[in-house]
């Protein structure tokens, strides 16, 4: 391969990679997630970065950083705790890839400097190259198998990302061309003659006959002009020539325990491959695939090899430390970037059954993180006149965000160590600022009468079937509230009513009045009442009702109805 071309391509790839990394890192300093970091400027963040770096390197925190580097980044302690089979997959790919990168790709700058006798065709290097390659291939197979398994068995699998496909295709291609190249070089007479000329001083087939015989039988070179069987005498001569000129640099081809078997398949094609210059273009394909991988690194899954360690180190550097607002700003934006989309958080999510039931993937952390990023970038709810689809997606995202119970499991299992707890809290605050709130807020933002009027004008196909009988059986069944005699016991024992001395306290009707609306057939009016959402669910009313009416249960049913019914009319009116 031409040196000029190689170096030009390498330099170009490095430059593209560096520019891409800068672009992606710039989001850590541009994005503002959470109301508490809206005023943080770029200068603040850079200063926080420098302070953090200085503290990480020159104070006692250096110890934490070192420990995080070893345990969390290299040994993937967090992933081991969360999911052992994926830890093994990661280990195979990571060790194999790093082995290939350092020992093979960077041989000139790493291996040669450390081991003076390095030759790619000697052991242990020949064997190790095959071992590392095989590790990556097996790891990739595990990865694809696990991905397929999760997609089949998980209702809301992590989002498909083109960057994952690019990663698998590129890495697979580099490995495949690498093994094919090595296999082809094993069988290629052309490569044999080139080497012979260089180290033996001759490329004459007749003169090299003994060496050819030896290499055909011991190294698998596929000459098509050798007579079989080969005479033992000729072999002996060949061995002598081999020992004189070749042995110092060549271990037995069988050490290439992947490429050698592949070369047996290629052997019958050796002449065709040579005629087509296969060793040359396989080399070009292999090297240029690596360069493409390098140039596109910031935009494929390879990027996590950059962002994830930084995230782990940042989180490992300050355990439980209260950060400055600039530090929080960087850490949150970094979280969006460092998420690998592994979905381990989703598998441990406390509200996963609800996500399945409501068919809302935004309840799950990996999807919620994407929605948080879209909100921050102004893509979740575009300004101006968003389409119905965009509005619906935005409200689904809000339902997901406010459905979180803050159990903190996603944070504790995240292999990249993201502080998701903090991200969800700031994300919810941002949603609320964008007018996307929890039901208790958006229902109470409008008086009950206004909701009832909206519902009147709505074309809900009520006549076909009444879904309420299933989802809200008490409020749909007159017998569950018709016994109410309006004695006011429920209101008298209600702590919410008792403490609502101020008219602005959010209590428009007393519980007994809500029951009366139901008796009058005004359920639409009842479900928009703010009392329904100010109920503390303490069950004093239900416990004390002399008529045995399940007052609190009915209040909770009215909430679910409001979420469904008012939710459908809300979007239509709110933004138009």
């Amino acid at each position: 391969m031409s040196h000029t071309l190689f170096h030009a391509a390498l330099d170009a790839s490095l430059l593209l990679c560096a520019l891409g990394l800068l672009w992606r890192m710039s989001t850590w300093y541009r994005l503002r997630i959470g109301p508490d970091v809206q005023d943080v400027t770029l200068v603040h963040r850079l200063r926080a970065l420098l302070r953090g770096l200085a503290a990480a390197l020159f104070t006692r925190r250096a110890f934490h950083v070192g420990a995080a580097l070893l345990l969390d980044v290299l040994l993937q302690r967090r992933l081991y705790r969360s999911d052992k089979s994926r830890w093994l997959t990661h280990l195979l790919i990571f060790v194999g890839f790093m082995g290939l990168l350092l020992m093979h790709a960077l041989a000139a700058v790493v291996t040669l400097k450390l081991f003076t006798g390095y030759e790619s065709t000697r052991n242990p290097y020949l064997f190790l190259r095959n071992l590392f390659g095989a590790m990556v291939v097996v790891g990739l197979a595990f990865f694809l198998f696990g991905l397929r398994h999760r997609r089949r068995h998980t209702r809301h699998a992590p989002a498909r990302r083109p960057r994952d496909a690019a990663f698998v295709v590129l890495l697979g291609f580099v490995l495949a061309t690498g093994f094919l190249l090595e296999a082809d070089k094993i069988v290629s007479p052309q490569v044999f003659y080139r080497m012979a000329k260089e180290f033996n001083g001759s490329a004459d087939p007749a003169e090299l006959k003994p060496l050819r015989a030896f290499w055909a039988s011991e190294f698998g070179v596929a000459f098509d002009d050798l007579t079989v069987p080969i005479a033992p005498d000729l072999l002996r001569q060949g061995r002598a020539m081999h020992e004189a000129d070749c042995e110092t640099c060549h271990a037995g081809a069988a050490s290439a325990f992947v490429s050698y078997p592949v070369s047996r398949v290629l052997a019958p094609l050796a002449r065709v491959l040579d005629a087509g210059q296969a060793p040359t273009w396989l080399l070009y394909l292999h090297v240029f695939a690596c360069f493409i991988g390098l140039a596109t690194l910031p935009f494929t899954r390879f990027y996590h090899a950059f962002a994830a360690p930084i995230s782990l180190l940042v989180n490992g550097a300050g355990p439980g430390r209260a950060l400055s607002s600039a530090g929080r700003a960087v850490r949150r934006a970094l979280a969006l970037d460092a998420c690998v989309g592994c979905g381990i958080c989703d598998a441990h999510c406390s509200v996963a059954p609800l996500a399945r039931h409501l068919d809302n993937r935004y309840l799950l952390p990996s999807h919620k993180l994407i929605a948080t990023g879209e909100l921050t970038r102004g893509r979740l709810l575009p300004s101006g006149h968003p389409t119905d689809g965009a509005r619906d997606a935005a409200w689904r995202a809000a339902e997901g965000a406010f459905g979180c119970t803050d159990c903190g499991r996603c944070t504790s299992v995240c292999p990249v160590g993201l502080d998701l707890d903090d991200l969800w809290q700031s994300g919810r605050a941002d949603l609320a600022r964008a007018g996307l709130t929890a039901p208790a807020q958006w229902v109470r933002a409008r008086p009950a009468l206004a909701w009832a009027e909206l519902l009147q004008s709505d074309s809900w196909p009520r006549s076909f079937f009444d879904p309420d009988a299933r989802d809200a059986p008490l409020s749909a069944d007159r017998s569950s509230f018709s016994r109410c005699v309006q004695c006011q016991t429920c209101t008298n024992v209600c702590p919410v009513v008792a403490h609502s001395t101020d008219p602005g306290s959010g209590v428009d009707l007393t519980p007994q009045k809500v029951m009366n609306l139901l008796r009058l057939g005004l359920r639409d009016l009842a479900m928009g009442s703010s009392m329904v959402w100010s109920c503390a669910t303490c069950y004093q009313c239900q416990e004390h009702c002399p008529q045995g009416i399940r007052v609190a249960d009915i209040m909770l049913e009215l909430r679910t109805l409001a979420v469904q019914r008012l939710g459908t009319v809300r979007s239509q009116k709110e933004f138009s």
């Binding site: 039931h357 504790s412 306290s505 069950y539 979420v563």
Partner: protein, 268 residues
Amino acid sequence: MKYALFLGCKIPSRLPAYAASTRAVFQHLGVTLLDLDFNCCGYPARSVSRDGFVLAAARNLALAGQAGLNVLTPCACCFGTLRHAIALLDEDAALRARITQALAAEGLAWSGAIEVEHVLPVLARVIGVDALAAGVRAPRTGLRVAAQYGCHTLRPSNMARFDNPLAPTIFEDLISLTGATPIDWPRRLDCCGDPLHDANAPLSETMTRAKIADALASGAEVMCTACPHCHLRFDGVQSDTADASIRTLLYTQLLGLALGLPAKSLGL
């Protein structure tokens, strides 16, 4: 004796001392607590979807059923919600059919045989007040304690089956055996205000402060809780105020101290 320990969403991340003290006390009493892969009890989903809430609860019960264990929870809200779901599944055949179908998709089944218990009744009735009293090594003599019952352990009483909902005594009995003095306070059965924390913050705070003021006025030194929501609510409101405040203590911590367990093992 063995239970599946249901910690719920709040305890592991916000109140780990409750998990630690519960484990320490029950270990001391020879009760094995096992951790299963539980999800949210379903309480927060009650405002969103009835089926969703029952499904979340039923999934937990099905997991416990699979392990052949009854459920023990230190959280009043999880306790109330899980028992509520059991009652709904018992009374509504159509709901039961839908939930059974949803669980089957995961290879789980609703058996109906699993019992859900709260920490307090297990201590008072299964271990027994007398047995506990016999084990007290460091009585908290003279400590004046207000029992914070929590709503969902008591009500609705036909589903919770915890104690007399209008005049419960179980918490006071458990406090007495530690040597401390349970005080009588008018607001002892009131809501702590936590469920309204997000929906109506000012009202929620008014309710919490009213309880704290009442306990202090009634002579309490300590507010004893048996629910992470109540506990965190009192601590949360008192963390940013200059008003008179009351010390909070989890019942498992109070009992652990009386039994002579090291304070560190109780998260103190």
